[in-house]
């Protein structure tokens, strides 16, 4: 065990190495939420060129669907993990067919404004119905309790969050970057006319991609339900940070979203120890620096 001390401008705190491991692990857990959410955003932006500002609201809807399933239907967390993304994803498909499909040829700004407006409406409706204080949702029985790792007490549920979201992230990356289906998708964004000439239904593929991205948001929402309050504004708190993550990673880059999601979770975790007052700001400082040095983001392909 050793001590690490930081200079005056960082708060002049000392921390023992064991506590530091705990903080790093927690950063990684928060990072897995960032990664999962920014992954959905990156998929939607990369494939549809839509800046999906409704992502936070869709994340919140995922958590609420989990709550409804438990409260009114009696279906537990594990069912919610499957049903909520499908239900909210279907809602996304509806949005895409009704609104978004008309916007692909227009400036990004239109998609941003539309989805932002939709997010406000959805949040307002939920707040009207359920209030703002949040609804309780229990950690599933199988994941109650935790492990004593020596340097910290790790709740089983948090361990599950980190493992599961990492798996989802890597599978998504693999499907899009390494399979035939993914190559169709990428080709369809580059040149839809040509891909259509091969007999592929491009509009349907785009619709389903949006539904998939939205489903990822809902999945993150279900995973957040047991640890954060299920409340209408839970998404709007997170969405701005997640956008910063996507911008840092490079808009539309899948791997970029995953790596920066986890990475920024770590950095934010460390800031919470050494200079907690700045922990909300640090991500935006990094964003500003990255944009100055690499305007396309760390993993961005386009200049």
């Amino acid at each position: 065990m050793f001590e690490i001390c930081f200079p005056e401008f960082l708060g002049a705190r000392c921390i023992v190495s064991q506590a530091l491991f705990g903080q790093l692990l927690i950063g990684l857990i928060n990072g897995s939420f960032y990664a999962l959410l920014s992954l959905g955003l990156a998929v939607i932006f990369g494939m549809l060129n839509i800046i999906n500002f409704a992502h936070g609201a869709q994340y919140m809807m995922g958590a609420f669907v989990a709550f409804f399933l438990l409260q009114y239907v009696g279906l537990n967390y594990w069912y919610a993990l499957v049903i909520a993304p499908i239900a909210v994803g279907a809602f996304g498909v509806l949005l895409e067919r009704l609104f978004l499909q008309w916007l692909y040829k227009l400036d990004h700004l239109y998609g941003l404004l539309l989805t932002f407006g939709l997010a406000l409406i959805v949040e307002g409706l939920f707040r009207n119905q359920f209030g703002s204080s949040g609804l309780p949702y229990r950690v599933p029985d199988q994941l109650q309790g935790g492990q004593n790792l020596g340097f910290m007490f790790l709740p089983n549920y948090r361990a599950w969050v980190i493992v599961f979201s990492l798996a989802v992230c890597l599978i998504t990356w693999y499907v899009i970057e390494r399979t035939k289906l993914g190559s169709y998708l990428r080709a369809a964004t580059e040149n839809p006319t040509l891909v259509r000439a091969f007999g592929i239904n491009v509009p349907r593929m785009i619709t389903l991609t949006y539904g998939f991205g939205v489903g990822l948001a809902a999945l993150a929402g279900v995973m957040a339900a047991p640890i954060y309050s299920v409340s209408p504004q839970m998404g709007s708190h997170l969405i701005i940070v997640v956008f910063a993550v996507v911008v840092i990673g490079g808009m539309g880059s899948i791997m970029g979203a995953i790596v920066t999601g986890f990475g920024l979770g770590l950095i934010e975790g460390l800031t919470k120890v050494f200079f907690p007052e700045a922990s909300n700001t640090v991500i935006f400082i990094i964003m500003a620096i990255v944009l100055l040095i690499r305007p396309a983001g760390l993993f961005g392909r386009r200049a």
């Binding site: 506590a19 707040r127 204080s133 949040g134 640890i227 997170l238 919470k272 909300n280």
Partner: protein
């Protein structure tokens, strides 16, 4: 156009009669400003507008010939937004009194504007005791509770039962700082000590990092100097990380009925905290709560809602006696000179520094088995009498009384 204006003026004169001829522009306009959409929306929010409406109705304003209008606005917990709303309200919309205003940083900004413009400010939502301390104003009354009263109630109770070493988890803005300062003073006065603190951004969602810091401090008590979703999330996560099981105790320095409801009794049971009002204390409160919930989506009133009701009632009394709402300082002076009385807070007074005083209550959250209904959440542990509940007037440093 001229014709329409003069017709309207005539109609107004005819409609108003003589009683409120001296009211500025003929109408008493009440502006209820708070967090309508964010983390404090259930404990203040639209419910405070409902409470103000009920106060106006119960006062019988219409029968007394007073014309009262209520407007509401969302300050989003941002001092700049709140300041803009209040300036517009006073300058353009002729609002005479600003009510509620949770989020101390916003309340402190509004406090200054209302003083400059000589209107009236009745604080129910905000907590910082500075509002009757160094920032006190002849135009402001701090109605329901403050950080000193919370610290005094909860801090005392916990230190006296053996919680001697404290670590604070503090929301990083005026309210959190004031609550931490006032509680630390109580802890130290009673022979306890503060071993550390961490200030978290407001609002925050993940507290695990801060909680681990609190854990490694080895303090007996983790004092939560925050409110709303910040408090409920911190409590939930403390139990998730086994912090309470490992022997450290939480002190929720400010917690509202909506927070306890949101946590659920299973998680919240046993918490000890201080409040100014609870719906199930007596018949008058129960009756109010029932009527209120019917008009507020079934949500029961918080102490802030009750405070809004009580403050608006007293304001209307003062204005109808003065027969004028034009001079804010005069109205507040009148309110200070009259004893307060209403069904919810009973008899009380407003001190020279602007502090409304009444008893405070130490509550404990019930065990799930003890609760008989969805809103049956608290049991009373102790009543803190009026004369001990609030900071002595000489200790506040309010320039109105010292100089």
């Amino acid at each position: 156009m001229k014709r329409i204006v003069s017709l309207a003026a005539l109609a107004a004169v005819l409609a108003c009669g003589t009683a409120q001829a001296q009211m500025s522009d003929g109408v008493i306009k009440i502006g209820v400003m708070n967090d309508m959409s964010g983390t404090y929306a259930d404990l203040t929010g639209p419910g405070s507008v409902v409470a103000a409406q009920m106060a106006v109705e119960d006062f019988g304003a219409a029968a007394k010939g007073l014309k009262v209008e209520i407007v509401g606005a969302d300050h989003q917990n941002k001092p700049d937004v709140g300041s803009n709303v209040v300036r517009q309200w006073i300058d353009r919309d002729k609002v005479d009194v600003i009510v509620d205003v949770p989020t101390s940083s916003v309340a402190l900004a509004v406090n200054q504007i209302v003083k400059d413009k000589n209107k009236v400010f009745l604080v129910s939502g905000a907590a910082a005791s500075d509002l009757t301390g160094k920032a006190c104003s002849p135009n402001t009354i701090h109605w329901t509770y403050d950080t000193w009263a919370l610290a005094n109630g909860t801090g005392n109770a916990i230190v006296k039962t053996g919680g001697k070493s404290w670590f604070f988890l503090t929301a990083d803005y005026a309210f959190g700082h004031a609550l931490e300062r006032d509680t630390a003073a109580v802890v130290e006065k009673n022979g306890g000590k503060v071993v550390g603190r961490v200030r978290h951004p407001f609002p925050a969602t993940d507290f695990s990092s801060f909680l681990l810091q609190a854990q490694s401090s080895k303090a007996q008590i983790i004092g939560l100097a925050n409110a709303g979703a910040d408090t409920t999330n911190a409590i939930k996560q403390a139990s998730e990380f086994g912090i309470t099981k490992a022997g450290q105790n939480l002190a929720a320095l400010l917690i509202f009925i909506s927070d306890v409801k949101s946590l659920g009794l299973q998680t919240a049971q046993g918490l000890i905290f201080t409040e100014a009002w609870y719906w199930d204390l007596n018949d008058a409160n129960r009756e109010f709560a029932k009527k209120f919930a019917a008009r507020n989506r079934g949500i029961y009133p918080s102490m802030i809602h009750a405070g809004v009701y009580s403050a608006v009632t007293h304001y209307l009394k003062a204005v109808s006696e003065l027969k004028s709402d034009a001079d804010g300082k005069a109205v507040v002076a009148k309110m200070k000179s009259m004893p307060t009385q209403d069904p919810l807070f009973g008899k009380g007074t407003v001190r020279a520094d602007g502090r409304k005083i009444h008893p405070m209550y130490l509550f404990e959250v019930k065990k799930p088995a003890e609760s008989k209904g969805p809103w049956d959440l608290y049991k009373l542990r102790a009543t803190i009498p009026t004369e001990e509940a609030f900071r002595p007037i000489k200790d506040g440093g309010c320039p109105l009384v010292s100089g």
